[in-house]
Amino acid sequence: MSGANLYATTLLVYFFIDVLAAWGLNLQYGLFGMYNFAFILFQSIGAYTAAVLTLGPPKHVFGTQDYFFGAQLPFPLPIVIAGGVAGVLGLIVALLLSRNLRSDYEAIVTFGLSIMALLIVTAVVPLFNGASGLAQVPEPLQGTLGLGAGAYSWVFVGFSGLICLASYGVLRRVQGSPFGRALRAVRESRDGAAALGVNATWCRIVVSVFGAVLAGVSGALLVEFITAWSPAAWTYVESLTIFSAIIVGGVGNDIGVLLGVFATEIVFAEGSTFLPTSLPPNLVGSLPWILIGIVTLAFLWARPQGIVPERRDCVRISKRRAAAVTWDVPTHGDFADLRDIVDGGVASGRG
């Protein structure tokens, strides 16, 4: 397989996987206002679950990988179950955060949780093989498809892309619905939303589970592609990076988040090619991070809503259906016809 092929497929798969995870966090943070720094745990548990369900039972022989449980399930079961397990973790986190914590305290609690999990998995080796992590995870349908390495990678790209597309469809439905509107209302004012009958606890559970499932599936796809997973892949820096992609790309806007992820990927993938080779390797390794950090800070200062901000009035109604309305449309001085009811009419106010 040519170098260009390998590069392209790797970039694309990483892109789809990161976008999936970022959309999950965008649902929780951008739309609902949950400050979950343990988000990366959802992706991580998805990856570990998929890995142990593909590796087969642990041999418990010295020199082999040590993990607490394993099975050899056929595709796509490991990925599906990974999503489910992540969803359960999402439920647990939602219940944990049921108290009305201050935004930064909520972030710090979850930050602590994620580092604690990292600590435990690293130290308790029989769990997931500790710091070494799991490796040699068989790729799904490797033998059965009978494809060469190149073609296989492209199939993987297509598969991840399809999952992304499907997820986008579901997310768009949720966000463009009155339910999505209720989520944003809770984000804006918990008390105000409750006084209007919105059940914030239920909303939180839905958002946490949904976002976790997306991250879990993303983790499963990632581990099936790169065939390895270790604690180094899910430090707090990963969570911070996804938050940055959302902040820069567009808080609450999935297209914006896609852009943010794309920009971040480009910096990491292409960043080093633009630098002179005479630079010391340490500098080269640190520059992308410094750049992303500075850009994030710049956006937080100048344009915190991101490049592509959340739509004004997110609920989408089809014009065709509105045109089929048969009941009497009230008319008043300030607005006169059905267009006003469909999209609130021409914006005549400030804002």
Partner: protein, 305 residues
């Protein structure tokens, strides 16, 4: 893992002793942290990076032959300068902008990460080590502590006492306490807020730097990310003691350090930080004002500098 029969006196007392030794730098860092947050209103998650940057500069001086006292001075100065600059260049701009509390957290986290990467670029990613002359072992109350540990404890105690004197008996200290308790009233009473905040960043920065040097010597090998683990412990101690209450932070740090050492008698040593995390999560979920703090609305006013 040490299961089975544990002879109480032979294991517990040294653990407590070691806990007290580690409490030297943990406590120092916690006191600096709690003052910084209490007075400036910024929950600074770049503190760990600043702490370790002081260690790096101390290492550089140590390489060209600096002794313990010289590198301590350099470390303290580095802590002060970096803290002051990071506030002036980054934090203050966002405070003035009125960024949200969560936004400020992201700002400090990225500031820390950027700083770590600058250190990586300059010093490389290898683990470094500060060489200090071999000291003596002293018998103290049933346990053994070496010169370095005793020096650390002494420095920590001296600094904390010095801080207490500053806060209680000087005008600056009074202004700092006023800002921590009631920023609006302090401003209205004519306190030169900007000046006091500058001094706060400098003074707590010195403490941060000193803690960093002591920590890096105690832990032996360190690199850019070494500050993060100890930051969480210091942060937890600060919250437990009540934000802005140095004595509370010192006591909490001592208790945490000893607990962290005692727990290694029953769980793997590299898991001992879990004590801090569990304490952090519990205190934030159940009593964010801290064990010793007054149950207010858990709001720390962000002072506009």
């Amino acid at each position: 893992m040490i299961f089975g029969s544990v002879s109480a006196a032979s294991e517990v007392v040294p653990a407590i002793g070691f806990g007290i030794a580690t409490a030297a730098y943990i406590g120092l860092g916690s006191v600096g942290y709690t003052l910084q947050t209490g007075i400036t209103g910024v929950i600074n998650f770049a503190y760990g990076a600043i702490l370790i940057s002081a260690a790096f500069v101390a290492y550089a001086v140590n390489r060209v032959g600096g002794d313990l006292w010289q590198i301590l001075v350099v470390g303290g100065a580095t802590g002060a300068i970096v803290s002051y600059l990071v506030n002036k260049l980054v934090f203050r701009r966002f405070v003035r902008r009125g960024v949200s509390r969560f936004g400020m957290l992201i700002v400090t986290l990225w500031a820390g990460l950027i700083l770590q990467n600058i250190l990586l670029a300059i010093f490389g990613g290898n683990y470094l080590h500060i060489t200090t002359p071999a000291g003596h072992l002293f018998r103290v109350l049933g346990t053994k502590l070496d010169t370095l540990q005793l020096t650390g404890i002494t420095i920590a105690v001296v600094c904390v006492v010095g801080l207490a004197i500053l806060l209680k008996f000087t005008r600056l200290g009074f202004a700092m306490r006023a800002l921590a308790t009631n920023p609006d009233l302090a401003r209205a009473s004519g306190v030169k807020v900007a000046r006091v905040l500058d001094y706060t960043w400098l003074i707590t920065g010195v403490i941060c730097g000193l803690a960093g040097v002591l920590y890096s010597i105690a832990v032996g090998a360190f690199h850019q990310t070494s500050g993060n683990a100890v930051l969480i412990i210091m942060f937890t101690a600060a919250i437990l003691g009540g934000v802005g209450r140095p004595l509370g932070a010192a006591i909490a740090a001592l208790a945490l350090s000893i607990a962290m050492q005692l727990v290694t008698l029953v769980i793997p040593a590299d898991l001992n930080e879990i004590v801090a995390f569990v304490a952090l999560i519990l205190v934030l979920l159940l009593r964010p004002s801290g064990l010793f703090g007054v149950a207010r609305e858990a709001d720390v006013e962000v002072a506009v500098a």
